[in-house]
Symmetry: C2
Subunit: 555 residues, 2 copies
């Protein structure tokens, strides 16, 4: 029996006003299901941070109500937070075969595989989770086995697209199930949550297949080794490289930890078709002539520790770029990685490689829908309410405009932030409060132990370094009996700055003398005097403001 006033809630805990850490709560009465559980990579100012995961305080408070986590696909920004979240809220996970194959790898690394409950679904399946029924719908994306979700609730259907594009000629031959979107639209959809990543781009995203054609054209005319860098998870891209290699009688070597891992999972699960004798090891490259070699590697984002960067800077243990190598960077720099990618391209050219990248040939297509594709999905689904997801504020805003341009009422569109609660009945929707949300920073083993104070200190230290001043004073009379000793790091090159350090000691001594003659003995005051005189002195001499750490020892 449905109470008259029972409401459906949609609460994004991540993925709004950001690219990454996608996670959405769907809640009805005492039941919660979660769509995706992603991480994001640290922003520039998050110094020293490894990854960022969503704040799940809301789930911890409602732990016993959470029924399951449902996954749309196997990218880090959709599955990467699972190990952290499941350690706190261990619920069953549902996802397609490849998605769970990649998830399984993660759990192995975190040594928790035996503690989790994973359930493989396939497109077309409908699973029952309490009062919810979740249907998995085949889509296209830059990783195989991606699905949209149609979530049937007592108040109506919600469609969550996940990340998607419309590829009429996908590599696996199995196109996005547009029929099902159309059918659901005819039956009536209460709310649509749709991917906003590419909403600023007009037109259509090209088919993945076009990249294969480029590969064939490049491979045809090359006698040297061919090295292709791409995203490990883009299994269809890897398949196309393998196909081109097959056509031109080349062996294939995988390079880079995640490339090897994903390729193994994809081969094992049947998502990557490659004749066994075609795969060779990177350390055996010199057993084959150059024109029989293709290396598929990580490093398309210029990551300094990746296989491609190490090849380019002669730091790879097993192979090095040689003059004439054809290197294809089959990817676009993710915003923020432009300089890193450019650095790698420069290094490759300097080694004598011939490098092909996006501005020179069509070696990459996006995995996200552009404007015309989004319009198609909106037009098929005809939702009552629309919540743009997966994007920065500018993307969400533009996606809202796109929906409006298709005739949707502005009041039925919700451009919201993480943590906002959208409360829906079958004929109304409103923002009804806020729950905790935000970034939890992971640094080494620490999850959430690095906060704003630590980051602020790291930033200060990174810009101007520090100066430590130690003074030993007597317990009896409070007089200085040793020091000031000064140590500095990241501020000036000490050996060439003796005068500066001597001067610093002098002003500290004078400051302390003044305290003595004024009979000031409180440590806090002494420390702040040391800080102040040093700060003034150093700024006057260098126009820099190192962190100053006064330490008083008492004996």
């Amino acid at each position: 029996m449905q109470r008259k006033d029972a409401k459906l809630k949609i609460i994004p805990l991540g993925g709004l006003n950001e690219i990454g850490k996608n996670m959405t709560v769907i809640e009805y009465k005492n039941e919660i299901i979660i769509v995706d559980c992603g991480l994001s990579f640290p922003e520039d100012e998050m110094l020293g941070i490894d990854v960022v995961i969503p704040d799940i305080s809301y789930l911890l408070k409602n732990r016993e109500r959470v029924k399951a986590i449902v996954l749309t696909h196997g990218h880090e920004d959709h599955i990467g937070a699972l190990p952290y979240v499941l350690k706190k809220v261990n619920v069953p996970i549902y996802g397609t075969k490849l998605t769970l194959g990649l998830v399984e790898n993660k759990f192995k690394e975190h040594n928790m595989l035996s503690d989790v409950n994973m359930n493989i679904v396939k497109p077309g399946d409908i699973i029952k989770l309490g009062r919810f029924k979740v249907e998995f719908i085949k889509t296209s994306h830059s990783i195989p086995d991606a699905v949209s979700l149609a979530i049937d609730t007592p108040l109506g259907k919600i469609i969550h697209t996940g990340d998607f594009k419309i590829d009429y000629t996908p590599i696996d031959g199995d196109i996005m199930n547009l029929h099902r979107f159309a059918q659901l639209g005819s039956e009536g959809v209460l709310a649509l949550l749709a991917d906003s990543t590419n909403v600023e781009r007009p037109g259509y995203t090209m088919s993945e297949r076009t990249v294969g054609e480029t590969f064939e054209n490049i491979f045809k005319n090359v006698e040297s080794r061919i090295i292709v860098a791409t995203f490990a998870s883009n299994v269809h891209r890897v398949q196309q490289i393998i196909n081109a290699a097959l056509t031109f009688n080349r062996k294939v070597a995988f390079s880079g930890r995640s490339m090897v891992n994903v390729a193994n999972v994809a081969i094992e699960l049947g998502y990557l078709n490659v004749p066994k004798d075609m795969i060779i090891d990177v350390s055996d490259l010199n057993k084959y002539p150059d024109n029989e070699i293709v290396v598929i590697t990580t490093g398309s984002q210029g990551e300094p520790m990746s296989a491609l960067s190490r090849m380019a800077s002669s730091e790879h243990r097993k192979m090095e770029i040689q003059p004439g190598d054809k290197v294809i960077i089959s990817a676009t720099p993710i915003p923020g990685n432009e300089i890193k990618v450019s650095n790698v391209i420069n290094l490759l050219f300097e080694k004598g490689a011939d490098v092909i990248y996006e501005s020179l040939a069509d070696v990459h297509v996006s995995g996200h829908a552009c404007q015309e594709e989004l319009k198609l999905i909106h037009s098929l689904v005809k939702p009552k309410y629309f919540i743009p997801v997966h994007g920065e504020y500018r993307h969400l805003r533009q996606h809202a405009s796109l929906a409006e341009s298709l005739g949707m009422a502005r009041d039925n569109i919700f451009v919201i932030d993480n943590g906002k609660v959208i409360e829906l009945s079958n004929d109304s929707a409103r923002i009804a409060g806020t729950v905790d949300s935000g970034n939890i920073l992971v640094d080494g083993l620490g999850v959430g132990d690095v906060g704003n104070i630590v980051l602020r200190d790291r930033k200060h230290l990174s810009e101007d370094g520090l100066m430590v001043v130690v003074v030993t004073i007597s317990k009896e009379d409070g007089k200085v009996i040793a020091g000031p000793d000064i140590i500095s790091r990241g501020f000036v090159y000490v050996r060439e700055s003796e005068d500066l350090i001597d001067g610093a000691k002098l002003v500290v001594r004078e400051g302390l003398k003044k305290c003595e003659s004024n009979n000031v003995k409180e440590w806090a005051t002494l420390k702040s005097v040391i800080k102040d005189v040093l700060k003034g002195y150093l700024y006057q001499k260098t126009k820099r403001r190192p962190m100053i750490l006064p330490i008083i020892m008492e004996v």
Copy 2:
């Protein structure tokens, strides 16, 4: 009398394999002239650095031979190092009126205006500098008064394009002097040095005038305030904004220090035409209706301290973004600034502004020549030798390919690095050695005092913070009489990590005890024991590696 074996040397000291700090030495016998004297902005890993200037050791060694510095235009990457270089090598400077107007501002800031010798030239002028004759040739660029240089030497002519594009409909009506390039080409050019920035882009760069048309179209339909962010030095862009404002009866306010500075110089020197009563102060905006206001501001690169960023984050003292404001970002993010620009766009949207940026409308054109323009210049100049300049290695390499595709012999093209000496006779050219070159880092008042060690420490501190351990030992018996005291910054939030700190003290105490029982008393050993035990303990507990600074005091 020219000795038979006298050679002409071209030595780039900056601008090759990098974007920025352009500086080229031209040398014949005992005479040196320098083309441009720019700075570059710090790369990500140059933590805390303000700007980067070229290493001029070679000039310091040959100080008395340097005749002059000749400037192509007034961008920072061509004039920014002048104050630093002239303090060491004070020679006359030659440049066009606006270029020197901007240079003058710099000298004022550095309090050295009275010490320098500045000489205004105009396009068409030829100046004699020892055996060199330097001719200034009108070009187009994203700053007015840009020139190429034709340098007549005893062994032949060198053409240095400076930064340029070909604009057939420039805002000042005065197009690049293609006739002169053609004439020089007919007479014979020994070597061409040409801008490589846009060599990867096919086709032509659009005329600056097209941006003006976009402005008119946008202004026509807007009733709210209009705020345009662009580069301060792009005076023609600013002129077009003013023209559109005039057309639609709007006043203009300048915002941001460099925008105000450059506008003042440009108005004073006649490069910016704006009716006096049209200019208003930012603090007077509320005296005018919204539809009579245009604000021209800095901040098009998302710089966090810029006027636009401060408006967007409510930190501007005099104005704030209000809902409905039309904000035009009339610029492209310089590589590395993408995220910053995106952040500002998001903030602006969140404040309710309607933001127009490059992916939405043609609000920017580049100042650099694309492939077809470069081909034109190569074809007109027909140099014997070619040295691509102003670009990363990938750009220089592609520019070399472009020259080859036009029929130039590969042996006559020199893709080189900063510091390489190209030695030319009138019928030969070769790389003849290397001089010192590189980056001098400027941090506050320090020029060159921050080197690799300091940067490495800053990086370490930025990632994991530090832990200082102080121990006081007795002079008499070497026994610990106070401490260990521990202070940490940027590592963990200390108040929530008391156990960790207590544990750290414990392992240090144990380590020191072991030393004592082994009768180890050397400070160096004690320090390294403290470092080692702490490092191991902290890594095991946190998987982080803070910098550890052991300090021993003796009383």
